[in-house]
Symmetry: C4
Subunit: 253 residues, 4 copies
């Protein structure tokens, strides 16, 4: 867990590890191929050199992100390197910056319009874990209703630091996922592979819960203890799919 | 918005910009790849040189459209250039011509058998916006019932100028989408990227609304103000997916 | 419509047109790519040289059929050319032979486990046309219950001429599709492109009817007159998708 | 049926047939391509040289398994060849070893998170055969509830020999499939092609049963006699899809 108090020392900065940039490129492309991200959505990584910054692509569709698109923002979601001035940024980047401020345990954030998650943001049924890989949903799945923050006439997007902070507050101290009404979700994790894993299995659990509603009758969800145990196990088990996904994404570059 | 009164000056005509032809080719192929268009359906663009004409492919399946297939029709959907005489035209091209007559604000039209939209044309549930990208559905989603225009024994197709005019009238002055019972929809926009974006997100919203009906309970649709704000935002935001889609479609040519 | 009375003259036989063989190869591969056929199922064509014979692949999965796999059977579904002796034949080939005997208007047959059609063979809801392209369903969609012919202990397959004849009788004189309980369907047409078109749109109509049941409320099916008019229109309109499908299938050979 | 009592003679061992290794590689890749296996899950084969051993990949995602990943384990799921020491093994390999111990008739096992099967593990509706290819479901589809073996706080995984033995006991002497609550299923067969076939058609039958529940009304499932007859027929009929799947999987290597 990075400290959020210590400022990094001044002076020339280490260049970013190329593997790390590749990780972020692979995460974008993987979630696009898995149909969690469409032409919108974004993935970020807290800068391991400086916990007060995060890495994210400039405003391009996730499936076309390359290493050259990655830039660093501070936690107010402003450009750090003057060389990046003038680059078009994601309008909703405040989702990332404000979550990193509020959650020092979080090192990666995925914001998506996860297609089967959206219906669970506009109905009363709660998204809950039924598949063991989705145990992290047992940490809570709060729903952010933008009308409470910004009234009934927005475009539902997180366009200001203040809205980002409200979203981060709704996410709270424990949850891995916050639903965004009529919009999608934001998923966080202690590492990039884990955040990608969670974003994918949030969508899969939603599909399977939808099917369970179709079949009908009470759904036998995971107990809270099962969810917590499973979440813990998946922190390391997410390495296996990540190895596959990363390799495949970078081979298709 | 092109004027519909001023006739263009006579005289030799500027050739069409190649990029524009590529736009129309890319729009056809993109909507086929996104499964909005199947082997049927068509996309058109109002001719920027002359608002009394529009550009559309000759009668070929959308995914196989090439630059050589594009031709110009007048707003009565008749061939303009004698060189095109004898080419097979889409039988339902009147959808396009009559909408361009009735809606000077419209510069692009997509007609499709959008697969998840069709069920909403034969049931009582109204298709309404629940996903922010589909805010344009808040402009109204009228349903065209061909039985009212042409009786109970048609093949449901828009084969005459009169049926095209009835469809355009049902679309009305504001809506972006008109449903066609047992058939599909026609989607319009101020620009080609926006019409493609709207055709895609009409299908996506239909899928998510179908899932919401499966989950059950009241659906928390967008308010009218949210829909209008979102629609406005998406007029420019549709540039990002379009850049991706166009590049990909033309690379696969 | 071929005569079923006149026997062809004896003597050396014209070789089959290569384009026709390619048609049959393309039909197999297309319906596999469109997910109507899986590793099972088969497509046949009445031999244009001799209406008392039909062409079909030896027993291979549809997506891997090549020209070398095509052979001729008589209407008792027996090998005609001694060179073909010993080739493994589809066990359910009697579906084809018996339908050709009973329906002189039929020149092509598709038997498939069409995935969304199967659920309509085991529930009480009738599959009915709601999409204009599926107007042919208005000719009737009888359900073949093998228990009535062969008792409660079969493997549901059409393994004898007698079962094929019962299936053909259930299809009747008019229908384009006969459902087979717990198994799939058999679809017929006056031409191969039309039979392929009908097999595909039977599956599509089933998907859309399934969605309409999910949405709920009465479904506004096509009237009988609409269905008949549409069916007539599609006899020629099926040429457009066929041109695309055939080209694509043969290019991927 | 291999004997489970006779230990193989000591001495130098025959090398494994390369075709057999390819079979196992193909089985992994095929079930990944058919979306039965995702980045998790595993396939094993009883060692034909020694019924007290089985062959399985080291811990890698199924779609990336190669011949070099295959190793032999004994029925306690321990490494046999010291050269394999240190290789990372599937944590849930006890599923395989314990089933081979309990079921001498079984020569192949597939464990998966089959996506449409999972919902049937958390609802009251029983998965039952409605599609003739899935007749083997008529042998029974028991549900393993890990809470009964290991309490309410596990991660739902089969991480010990004892849990593997409980699962094997729930599978019983006859069934081809055992459901695992909130997790997936394990499917067995007398041969690898048959186990792959059954794993695939378990998923397909689940999809079609889900659709039948959507349509509503009583579902006309197969009778027990039909299921048994069909299962018997498919023991050999599974050769056709297997030939296709194997060839395709190895070509894509």
């Amino acid at each position: 867990m990075p400290s959020t108090n210590a400022r990094p020392p001044a002076g020339p900065e280490r260049p970013l590890d190329e593997d790390l940039i590749d990780d972020l490129v692979a995460a974008n492309r993987t979630l696009a191929r898995l149909n969690v991200l469409d032409a919108f959505g974004h993935v970020s990584l807290r800068d391991p050199r400086n916990p007060h910054r995060y890495l994210i692509a400039r405003s391009v569709a996730p499936e076309s992100v390359t290493a050259a698109d990655i830039l660093a923002l501070d936690l107010d979601s402003q450009i750090v390197d003057p060389c990046d001035d003038g680059k078009l940024l994601y309008r909703e980047r405040f989702i990332h910056g404000e979550i990193y401020k509020a959650r020092p345990d979080v090192n990666a954030v995925v914001h998506s319009h996860s297609p089967t998650v959206v219906p669970f943001t506009v109905t009363r049924a709660r998204l809950r874990p039924l598949l063991h890989n989705a145990g992290f949903l047992g940490l809570g799945v709060p729903l952010f209703e933008i009308r409470k923050s910004a009234g009934e006439g927005t475009d539902l997007m997180i366009l200001t630091p203040a809205l980002g902070a409200d979203l981060a507050q709704k996410l709270g101290k424990d949850a891995a996922v916050v639903l965004m009404r009529g919009h999608g979700d934001s998923v966080v994790g202690p590492s990039l592979p884990n955040a990608v894993f969670r974003a994918y299995y949030t969508e899969i659990n939603a599909r399977q819960q939808l099917a369970a509603h179709t079949i009908g009758g009470p759904i036998n969800f995971m107990t809270r203890a099962e969810a917590l145990t499973s979440n813990q196990a998946m922190l390391s088990a997410s390495a296996r799919p990540w190895a596959l996904w990363r390799k495949r994404a970078l081979a298709e570059r």
